[in-house]
Symmetry: C2
Subunit: 349 residues, 2 copies
């Protein structure tokens, strides 16, 4: 159990071949005679050889490592995205070194330094800490996901379309007034496009609408207090009207739903709710929440492909002037559930 590690040298000695031949056995087996291949296989088994990829990396310069920077893993959106990235190992073979939760730019830089020291071949960034400009200056390919992406390749949900889908859905259901809850309207954040999509649809269709942008930090308690307060204003302001409320994400939508259900003993027919993301919470809430679903598997796969394209491009044409960053946009899919179809609200899904 604690014996010295068996190396190719040991196999070479054992079989009386050279290290080179052993290496070739792994990398171009067809260049080793069938007979000797068997001898080597035998020796590998007998000595219980295990490859050492660290040495291979040093010799070849390819680590098959990708760095992953994620804000946290307790929000289910990030959990689901991470899950999806990790599973891409089966397809692409890249391993992930993951760092979570850089509070400050400084620690995020430290993480990146560390990742670079391990010779990662690419970096995927979900955190919002550093500017894409700084990220673009790194000596490795970078892809951003649902973050500011001016100077880097990225994959985003078509947030603008998502906002429109939500508005159209609510309008189609005969709402008298469309309302959008959000907490962040900063231009550079892709999710803020949801606001624009929602607004533009309402304007185009001449629908009465209202934006309620109330900042909150990411703690549940604060989110809750802000949303409940906002909801109460809406209740007072639009009595008797059929209100279609599009909420910026499923967690917030769930808070709103719980508030209404608690207050009225159920979701009144005059309230329709649509969330965003299609995270688990939207399915598991007291009434299944209609939501604009991000296609996470497609997004992560697209991100991997962008990254791999960069990795390959880099080795080929090293000196090319930085091309304009590629921004892939993935359409969301509206998923109608009980919060926007009151007639089915009582049925279990």
């Amino acid at each position: 159990m604690s014996e010295k590690k068996v190396t190719m040298k040991d196999i070479a000695d054992f079989t009386h071949f050279s290290k080179t031949t052993i290496s070739r056995y792994f990398n171009r087996p067809e260049s080793v005679s069938t007979e000797n291949r068997e001898k080597i296989a035998e020796a590998l088994r007998v000595l219980n050889y295990k490859e050492n990829k660290v040495a291979r990396i040093l010799a070849r310069g390819k680590t098959e490592f990708i760095g992953l920077l994620v804000p946290n893993l307790f929000l289910s959106y990030y959990g689901e995205v991470m899950d999806s990235f990790l599973r891409s190992y089966q397809r692409y073979g890249y391993k992930f070194i993951v760092f979570a939760g850089s509070d400050s730019e400084e620690t995020e830089r430290k993480y990146i330094e560390e990742l670079m020291a391990y010779q990662i071949e690419g970096l995927i960034v979900l955190t919002h800490t550093m500017s894409s400009e700084e990220l673009a200056s790194l000596p490795v390919p970078v892809v951003g996901l649902e973050r500011e992406d001016k100077y880097i390749d990225s994959v985003n949900t078509d947030n603008y379309l998502g906002g429109m889908q939500a508005a159209r859905h609510l309008a189609d259901l005969g709402c008298d007034i469309l309302i959008h809850f959000n907490s962040d309207a900063r231009q550079e954040i892709p999710a803020s496009r949801r606001i624009a999509g929602f607004t533009d649809y309402c304007l185009e269709q001449h629908l009465p609408y209202e934006l309620l942008i109330e900042p909150y930090d990411n703690t549940y308690a604060h989110m809750k207090s802000v949303i409940c307060r906002t909801a109460n204003q809406v209740i007072e302001k639009y009595p008797g009207l059929r209100k279609g409320i599009f909420v910026s994400n499923d967690s917030a939508a769930s808070i709103l739903l719980n508030h209404l259900v608690s207050r009225f003993g159920g979701l009144p027919e005059e309230f329709l709710i649509v969330g965003f993301d299609n995270t688990r919470i939207s399915q598991e809430s007291i009434i299944p929440i209609s939501t604009v679903g991000q296609q996470i598997d497609i997004m992560t796969d697209t991100a991997m492909q962008l990254l791999i394209a960069q990795i390959q491009g880099r080795t080929e044409k090293a000196g090319t002037a930085a091309a304009a960053p590629v921004h892939k946009i993935i359409p969301p899919i509206l998923i109608p559930r009980a919060t926007s179809m009151p007639e089915v609200a009582q049925k279990t899904e």
Copy 2:
């Protein structure tokens, strides 16, 4: 941007020192004269040197890598545990290579092979796929977390105590009958001790109780149908009695709660619910769910310490006969919330 990588050799040439001195500058700076330290620092800056830890690993044999096997990341429990492990980087400096979701033993072995090839120093296992016996035979330190752990070091919540806490809490609140919902009573799974703790408390205190063990797979839909069915049986069987229901985890507790609230338009006073884990869902449900909370940060920290102890012990006394595995037990903390304190159920938390 695509220049050749700068190595210690370059710094050596630039400063007219030897590679050795440059290396020492990093590893034992005090052994380099102050004057020359500055020269080297200058050269590092001018040439923009970045360390290559892959080479260092090869030379020293320490990777600072830990492998992490987790069933998935969409269940918030695992997300929270992962989050906690990743943050331990700040304390211990270990980087994590993460694999999620091995459906089969075969793929799980492949993951482990891959991790070994990268010379991980230790392995943390949350998956239930492989036996601890097989894991124990690996040539690296292994620590399990809330999994079968006969042959490996492990960290578990004191599930037995947790079951007792839940029962006592419900009994103290004057329940006429105590009921436990669970889906898996297999001895080797630590969580099954929750059943034993619950049962023993009821027996000791001569309390009427019932165990309802109904297997379900991990899909939400199936969980839901099983739990709703079971709940309906309970409703019929114990009309008028104050029922204290201890549910095996928060997700299941949330499903039960939603079912009751939907059916009765609120949580009837005669139902008290306690979940397990203290995952986010317990706080974010329509009525905050009382739960037996796992102390995740303490558990992950304990796991890291166990692993590090093994890593260090291994280098010191290589030949020691495998000591008996160490099992650390972390007490859970009961968190009373509205589902077991009907009088506060209406207040926002």
